[in-house]
């Protein structure tokens, strides 16, 4: 690495960790309802919202009620988006033809599940109204749902009968006092760096040689900031963050990397405040080691220049994409086909683990699932009853945690096989199946199931089979693990805590080492054969 590259890497790491320390403390206060800065003003604004929606802020929910409230909110939001996308031709602001039902359904599912897989090109197919009122709105709903779930999940471990909280209260507070203010200031910064922000959909300008050029434009800065902050990843333009309007310079590139990583990295810090410093830092360390492996893979080989943007080069593209996939954002500042095979293996690793550091909220939940599985396996090895937070882990918890882990490979591998046996893979990628085309199919379902959203196929996958199958995978990949994880938290919150020494310590170097190895072994054992047929053979 050159010294310039080291400076860029340090800027991203120091920037995201530095902000994570601040936001982590703030998130910890949100989880246990402690006083935040400007508490009075924030409280008043929040109370206004509770009154409008008609909720009792003191009402506590069981895990089932919490999960149901999350589902109901998400279904309503998705329904709203489907209607907007289908009828955008009769809505204001540069109307475009409405989307087909399967594409509208796919897009709504994709955005509500925090995936943002795009089988359409936003700049060509969506009106400004759809991008703004439809997608920007949904880009707040999706991460707020994931973060809420993580709040409830973490509360399950705090102290007996602390309660999981109230979904509507969490959801409102997360949008109004966390996501919205950060997005607002980030949007202004991106605007300053060159991202446009206007309600016009195109501008026509003269060219230097006296011709004329029509350029697609819109409220890009406002969308871009929540796109990265909320681990969404769905671009205003089909070219996503490779487009100069979404990501104008090297500075915006670094800033967007920081935005993608900051909330996922804030969670272990919040965890450290609430459940023990050592435990939180150990989880943070494990996440960073995993991310480090992805980065090292990506940087071990030169990518491009075909498919990459000149202003980012191989280093800037690799750093951005590994950050984006690690945080399950799925934004892309280069064409994936321009990336080296090693970089792609790094992407798969991030999507398979989903917790290094993973998406806003759900990444942290997934990491705790790995902690529980690790405690169980290590407990078997040393012959001790596994305990977590001074509570016994019972067989049912392990079963549920194993389910959470196994849903993911099932959702990737089964549909990939179906796509090939029904000729739907061949129909868009050609009759000849090569490691490259197999990689693209495997990537599509990995991305859908991990709620990541980066992909190779893009608009070519806008066929009923691909729209319906990936939509189903996204739904199951999102809500099944969240439901199972909330049920685990629901049973833990009722359990007795004995304040004794942990039989297996969940902090310190040894634990970080064991947890990291477990994460890699579990993932490698599950996916290795498929990687061997795909990216390893390219």
């Amino acid at each position: 690495m050159t010294y310039v590259e080291i400076v860029i890497l340090l800027a991203v790491l120091v920037g995201s960790l530095g902000l994570a320390i601040i936001f982590g403390r703030y998130i910890a206060r949100m989880i246990v309802y402690e006083k935040r800065p400007l508490e009075k003003t924030l409280g008043r604004v929040e109370n206004g919202f509770y009154k409008i929606i008609g909720i009792d802020r003191y009402e506590q929910m069981t895990w089932k009620q919490y999960f149901l409230a999350l589902i109901v909110t998400n279904v309503i939001a998705a329904g709203f988006l489907i209607v907007i996308l289908i009828y955008q031709n009769s809505l204001p602001l540069s109307p475009k033809p409405g989307l087909s039902f399967d594409l509208a359904f796919h897009t709504a599912v994709s955005f509500v599940t925090n995936t943002d897989l795009q089988h359409y090109a936003g700049d060509q197919q969506l009106s400004i109204f759809s991008q703004m009122v439809g997608l920007i709105f949904m880009m707040f709903v999706a991460p707020a749902s994931g973060i809420s779930a993580a709040f409830a999940f973490i509360r399950g471990f705090i102290r007996k009968e602390f309660g999981l909280g109230n979904f509507y209260v969490d959801f409102t507070r997360i949008i109004i006092t966390l996501l919205l203010p950060i997005s607002f200031f980030s949007a202004l910064l991106l605007l300053f760096l060159g991202a446009p922000q206007t309600l016009d959909s195109t501008i026509t300008v003269g060219t230097l040689q006296g011709g004329s050029q029509t350029i697609t434009i819109g409220p890009v800065a406002a969308l871009e900031s929540i796109k990265e902050l909320g681990s969404n990843g769905g671009g205003f333009f089909g070219a996503n963050s490779a487009h100069p309007f979404e990501n104008p310079t090297g500075v915006s590139n670094v800033f967007e990397c920081i935005l993608m990583l900051v909330i996922p990295l804030s969670f272990p810090i919040a965890y450290a405040h609430l459940l023990g410093k050592g435990r939180g830092i150990s989880i943070l360390a494990t996440m960073l080691i995993g991310f480090g492996v992805m980065l090292a893979l990506g940087l071990s080989e030169q990518s491009g220049p075909v498919g990459l943007e000149t202003r980012f080069g191989s280093f800037g593209s690799t750093l951005f994409l590994e950050s984006s996939v690690a945080s399950n954002t799925g934004a892309a500042n280069a064409s994936l086909s321009g990336m080296s095979p090693n970089a792609v293996i790094g992407f798969f690793l991030g999507m398979f683990v989903q917790a290094i550091p993973g998406a806003d909220g759900t990444g942290m939940m997934m990491m705790i699932i790995f902690v529980i599985l690790t405690l169980f396996l290590v407990g078997l090895m040393v012959g001790k009853t596994p305990e977590f937070m001074s509570m016994k882990i019972n067989p049912k918890d392990v079963r549920l945690a194993a389910f959470v882990f196994l849903i993911h490979p099932a959702l990737i591998l089964i549909p990939s096989v179906i796509a090939y046996t029904t000729d739907n893979a061949q129909s868009i990628l050609g009759e000849q199946t090569t490691p490259t085309t197999f990689t693209q199919v495997l990537y599509e379902y990995s991305s859908a199931s991990a709620n990541n959203g980066s992909d190779y196929l893009g608009t070519s996958a806008n066929t009923p089979f691909w729209n319906w199958s990936t939509a189903l995978v996204m739904l199951l990949g999102r809500y099944a693990p969240i439901g199972l994880m909330l049920s685990i938290a629901g049973s833990f919150t009722l359990r007795d805590r004995k304040e004794v020494v942990e039989p297996i310590k969940t902090s310190g170097f040894l634990f970080v080492g064991v947890l990291t190895v477990m994460v890699f072994i579990l993932t490698a054992l599950t996916f290795f054969p498929f990687l061997a047929m795909g990216p390893f053979s390219i």
């Binding site: 310039v4 202004l188 309600l199 060219t207 230097l208 409220p219 309007f245 500075v251 075909v306 990459l308």
Partner: protein
């Protein structure tokens, strides 16, 4: 929520952007002799051999990459010099100036060296108006 996040938030950013940062908000348009000649962030095609040329649109991630690598600019210098009669050294200096300018945009270290094709060509027209008088008035720009 829809009104707060989907309407109020983007409109507020738009209002601030259009007031405080109108240039960026409207796509970083560049002006030469009082006429808009493009956006410095979006590539435009040049068919005259007197100009520097951007990458083919299929070669980049976005398809509208406005920049080329320094090597690519330098490799075009000889051909441009022989068509226009502008000395090679002068062209080399303009390329270096553009690289320096882009370095500033990127706070010196946040991007590799690159050349913005449109800005470089505008600089050529400014420095050598007589050489390019035909090109820029040929189609009666808007």
């Amino acid at each position: 929520m829809i009104i707060t996040t989907g309407v109020a938030y983007p409109l507020l950013v738009t209002a601030i952007g259009q007031t405080v940062l109108p240039s960026q908000s409207n796509g970083s348009q560049v002006i030469l002799n009082g006429k808009v000649v493009g956006s410095e962030l979006i590539a435009q095609s040049f068919d005259s051999p007197k100009f520097f040329h951007p990458r083919n649109s299929t070669d980049s991630g976005s398809g509208v990459d406005p920049d080329i690598a320094p090597d690519s600019a330098i490799s075009q210098i000889h051909a441009i010099s022989s068509v226009t009669g502008i000395p090679v050294n002068a062209l080399k200096t303009l390329v270096d100036l553009d690289i320096a300018r882009n370095k500033e945009t990127n706070a010196l270290v946040f991007a590799p060296d690159y050349v913005n094709v449109l800005n470089l060509n505008i600089e050529l027209v400014k420095q050598y108006p007589e050489v390019y008088s035909q090109e820029i008035s040929a189609k009666g720009g808007t």
